[in-house]
C-alpha cells in the first residue's frame, strides 16, 4: 500500500487504528525512504521536547501563584464572614475571584505629602475628588471613584483609581489618609495584562478593610453630605 504523509504523521502520533497502523508498519519495513521520513518526524518531536520540556522543571514564579492565593483568601473570607452576607451581595463586591487580583497592591504605603498636605494624606487634587465625586463618577482630573465603605473604626473610606495610582483613602480629622496604594489606573501594561486589574485589586483590599457592606447610592450621598464623618 502507499502511505500518505497524513497517515505517516498519524502513525507517528499514535492516532491510527490497529489495522491501519499495521499496514503502515509493514510499508515502513519495506521502504527505507518511508522509514527515514518517520525518523525525521520523531526527531522533530525530540527537538521540541528538548526546547520546551525543561520548563516543567523550572520553579514557577511567585507572581503566577499570587492570584490563586488571593482567590483562596477571598474564598476563606467568604466563609468567615458568612454573617455579613450583605457585603457579598453588593454588586461592587461580586467581582468575586476577579477581586482577588490583588498582586499589585501595596497596603498601607506612605507617600510623601505634596502641596502642604500632611505625610500620608491625599493631596489637594485627590482630596477634592474624594470629597465630591460619587462612586461610578469620574472627577475632572480623571480620578474615578470605585466604592465607599466604613472600616472597623467607623471611618468613611473610599476606593479610587487615578491616573497616577489607585488606592483606598479613609477620612479623619486631618483629611483623607491613604490606607492602601495600588497600581496606576492607567498603568503601563504589557500586552497580556488585562485592563481593570488595579480596580480589582482595590476591591479585594476593600473587602479586607470593610466592616460592613459598601455604601449604596443613598448612603454615599448621606456620607458626603455629612462631610465623610466617622460614624456607624
Amino acid at each position: 500500500m502507499t502511505v500518505s504523509p497524513e497517515q505517516l504523521a498519524a502513525y507517528a502520533d499514535g492516532e491510527l487504528d490497529e489495522i491501519t497502523a499495521a499496514h503502515v508498519r509493514r510499508a515502513i519495513e519495506d521502504d527505507p525512504a518511508l522509514a527515514q521520513e518517520l525518523a525525521k518526524l520523531s526527531e522533530l518531536r525530540s527537538m521540541l521536547a528538548a526546547r520546551f520540556d525543561p520548563i516543567l522543571a523550572e520553579p514557577v514564579p511567585e507572581r503566577l501563584h499570587q492570584p490563586i492565593k488571593s482567590a483562596a483568601k477571598v474564598v476563606n473570607l467568604a466563609d468567615v464572614r458568612s454573617a455579613r452576607q450583605q457585603l457579598w451581595q453588593r454588586p461592587q463586591f461580586r467581582l468575586g475571584a476577579g477581586a482577588a487580583i490583588a498582586a499589585s497592591l501595596v497596603v498601607a504605603v506612605l507617600v510623601g505629602g505634596r502641596g502642604g498636605t500632611p505625610q500620608g494624606y491625599a493631596d489637594r487634587q485627590l482630596a477634592a475628588a474624594l470629597d465630591t465625586s460619587l462612586s461610578g463618577e469620574t472627577a475632572p482630573d480623571g480620578t474615578r471613584m470605585l466604592l465607599s465603605f466604613r472600616d472597623s473604626t467607623g471611618a468613611a473610606c473610599r476606593g479610587y483609581a487615578a491616573a497616577a495610582n489607585s488606592g483606598i483613602a479613609c477620612h479623619d480629622d486631618h483629611g483623607w489618609k491613604l490606607k492602601a496604594l495600588g497600581a496606576a489606573g492607567k498603568q503601563q501594561t504589557t500586552q497580556y495584562q488585562q485592563a481593570g486589574s488595579p480596580d480589582a485589586a482595590i476591591m479585594a483590599a476593600a473587602q479586607d478593610m470593610a466592616a460592613g457592606p459598601a455604601f449604596d447610592t443613598a448612603a454615599e450621598a448621606a456620607a458626603r453630605k455629612a462631610g465623610w464623618r466617622t460614624g456607624k
Binding site: 504523521a9 527537538m47 522543571a57 503566577l64 492570584p67 468575586g96 495584562q193
Partner: protein, 163 residues
C-alpha cells in the same frame, strides 16, 4: 494545597501552562505575562468551568484564546508584521531587548502561521490527541490535522536547513 479542588488543580497545572505559553508567546519574555493573564481570566470565569470536566483543556483554551485575541490586536496595530522572507530574524529584536535567547526551535516556530503553531504545540509538545487539540482550538479534526501536517513539514524544512 488549597481546600478547593479548582485552585489546587490550577496550581498543579502551572508548569504545563508555562510550557504552553513559552511556545505561544512571540517574545519569550511575554510567556509568563500570557500565563498570568490566563490564570486571572480563569479565576474570574471559574463559574464557567464544569466540575468533572478536564481543567487542563479548559485552561489551555483560555490561554489560547487570549493569545489569539492579542495576536489580532497586534496585527491590526503593527503593520510591519513579519513576512516569510524575514526568516530567521523574525522576533529576534524583542528577544534581544529582553535578553532572552531564542533557540533555533523558537525561530523556526515563529515563522509558522498562528494556526499551525498552536496545532504543533498542542499535539507535539503538550501531547494532546488530535480530537482533544481540535476541541481546545474549536476546529474540526480534519482542519487540525492539516494544520499540523503543514506546520510540521515547515518546521522540518527550517530545522533541517539549520542543522
Amino acid at each position: 494545597m488549597y481546600n478547593d479542588a479548582f485552585l489546587t488543580g490550577l496550581t498543579a497545572l502551572l508548569p504545563r501552562l508555562r510550557r504552553f505559553a513559552a511556545g505561544l508567546a512571540r517574545d519569550p519574555a511575554d510567556a509568563d505575562d500570557l500565563c498570568q493573564a490566563a490564570i486571572e481570566r480563569a479565576l474570574v470565569s471559574r463559574q464557567q468551568w464544569q466540575d468533572g470536566t478536564r481543567l487542563d483543556s479548559w485552561m489551555y483554551r483560555i490561554m489560547r484564546n487570549i493569545w489569539i485575541d492579542t495576536a489580532r490586536a497586534r496585527t491590526r496595530r503593527d503593520k510591519t508584521f513579519a513576512h516569510e522572507e524575514a526568516g530567521l530574524t523574525v522576533g529576534t529584536s524583542g528577544g534581544q531587548e529582553a535578553q532572552v535567547e531564542l533557540t533555533m526551535v523558537d525561530r523556526a516556530l515563529q515563522t509558522l502561521p498562528d494556526e499551525q503553531r498552536e496545532a504543533v504545540l498542542l499535539v507535539l509538545v503538550e501531547g494532546y490527541k488530535y480530537a482533544e487539540a481540535a476541541a481546545i482550538i474549536g476546529c474540526p479534526i480534519g482542519t487540525l490535522t492539516s494544520r499540523l501536517l503543514r506546520g510540521r513539514e515547515a518546521l522540518m524544512v527550517k530545522l533541517g536547513e539549520a542543522a
